[in-house]
């Protein structure tokens, strides 16, 4: 360690610990810490003061919806993890075609987004709302694809839906759509539904309609290819759905 270098850098220790150095300065100072016991000791000593700073903040209660939303994601990921290890269960392909076929089998009209959403909801109930696994005898078309599915947390307009939360579970391949899960949404009056939209390059495409139970929980399909999409959003619309969103989204999943 050179004395000149120490004298040049010793003044940086406070700014370093407070995260106030520019990136290149931080790298330079960290390299210096490895070779300078004087600065290293001082950094260790002053770190206790920095670690006390967050404790100076007066505690305020965190919003109840925050824990609900956080634990919803955690539980969804646990279900997916546990589901992945279940031997008798195989993943259902997350394709629009698959949703349509399943809808037909249930006597619903294929092609309607509402039907697709209903299938997703039913599948969720059958499998413990886990991740669209089903007991089936079909050939293994999509081996292990659920193993790397991804969950994105939704941003919710807390002024309109204070207790709301949601997350979008994406399969590894974005071409195969996704499932949106919501919690804490207000059950709508008769004549209204929640509508899911996909935003892509300035275009807004309707995906499905859904309602929520008394507990505010619900799920809906996003059947379109998500490749290149910007966001999945939810609005409240008249029963039957709208051609275009009639309000700003209450829930947004940025892709």
């Amino acid at each position: 360690m050179s004395v000149e270098r120490h004298e040049l850098l010793q003044e940086d220790v406070g700014a370093y610990l407070l995260g106030a150095l520019e990136e290149s300065e931080r790298d330079r100072f960290e390299a210096h810490l490895h070779e300078c016991p004087v600065c290293s000791d001082e950094a260790d000593r002053l770190r206790t003061a920095v670690q006390a700073l967050p404790r100076s903040v007066m505690p305020i209660p965190s919003p109840a919806g925050l824990k609900t939303s956080l634990m919803a994601v955690v539980q969804a990921e646990v279900r997916e993890r546990d589901g992945a290890s279940a031997r008798r269960f195989r993943p259902v392909a997350w394709t629009t075609e698959r949703l349509k076929r399943s809808a037909s089998a249930l006597g619903r009209r294929p092609g309607l987004a509402m039907a697709a959403a209903s299938v997703v909801l039913l599948a969720g109930v059958v499998t413990g709302a886990a991740g669209l696994y089903a007991i089936e005898n079909a050939t293994d078309e999509q081996p292990q694809r659920q193993a790397s599915s991804r969950t994105i947390v939704a941003k919710v307009d807390k002024t309109r839906v204070p207790l709301g939360s949601g997350s979008l579970v994406l399969p590894p391949d974005r071409e195969n759509g996704a499932v949106l899960r919501v919690h804490g949404l207000r059950p709508l009056e008769q004549g209204s539904v929640y509508q899911v939209w996909l935003e892509r390059g300035g275009e807004t495409i309707s995906q499905s309609l859904f309602t929520v139970g008394e507990d505010g929980d619900g799920a809906a399909a996003v059947a379109d290819d998500l490749e290149g999409a910007d966001a999945v959003v939810v609005t409240r619309e008249p029963a039957g759905g709208a051609k275009a969103p009639s309000e700003n989204s209450i829930l947004t999943v940025a892709l």
Binding site: G14, G19, P59, S62, L66, Q75, V153
Partner: protein, 178 residues
């Protein structure tokens, strides 16, 4: 913490119950609005959950570790959002938002408030110019050069005040404990 590292959701929930309030309070103190503070807190806890936690007991308490993660996330949020730009014009905002609304307190909450008062007293006992640069850096997420520009002083002075201020704060906290 071992159970959290093993991916136990109940253990994770307990971790949130214990430290979620402090995490949200810190995030709110830094970003200045509830929605962003919620995002920051959620991102921080999800990163703990997903990374299966790399907590090292020899580096401090669990609370210190959690708050360190929240602090980093809040800094990221400040630097990527316009929030920073809006607050730049009013550095006073950094010193505000201390008082929480009065409500019925549990013993734990009362202890936390007492601890907060204790650290704040030590911070407020520093020369004002030292408190200011420390708060702008830690809670505001500003770099030393940004602070120098805002306060119109040389960068060397800013760095010196940070270093001196932290040393005095450390001694002040030590004296209060002793």
């Amino acid at each position: 913490m071992r159970l959290v590292q093993e991916g136990n959701p109940r253990a994770f929930e307990l971790l949130y119950d214990r430290h979620g309030g402090a995490a949200f309070s810190l995030a709110y103190r830094m970003v200045g609005n509830r929605v962003t503070a919620e995002d920051v807190s959620q991102e921080a806890f999800l990163s703990i959950w997903r990374s299966k936690a790399r907590y090292q007991p020899d580096r401090g308490s669990v609370r210190t570790w959690v708050l360190g993660i929240v602090h980093h996330r809040a800094i990221d949020a400040l630097r990527r959002n316009l929030v920073h730009e809006k607050r730049r014009s009013s550095a006073e905002g950094i010193e505000e938002r201390h008082e929480a609304p009065e409500r019925e307190q549990t013993d734990v909450e009362a202890a936390r408030r007492e601890e907060a008062r204790h650290v704040r007293d030590a911070l407020e006992n520093l020369p004002k110019e030292q408190t200011r640069v420390i708060e702008l850096a830690y809670f505001g997420g500003f770099s030393h050069s940004q602070i120098a520009e805002m306060l119109q002083m040389p960068i060397g002075t800013v760095k010196g005040r940070m270093r001196l201020g932290l040393e005095k704060l450390r001694k002040g906290l030590k004296e209060k404990v002793a």
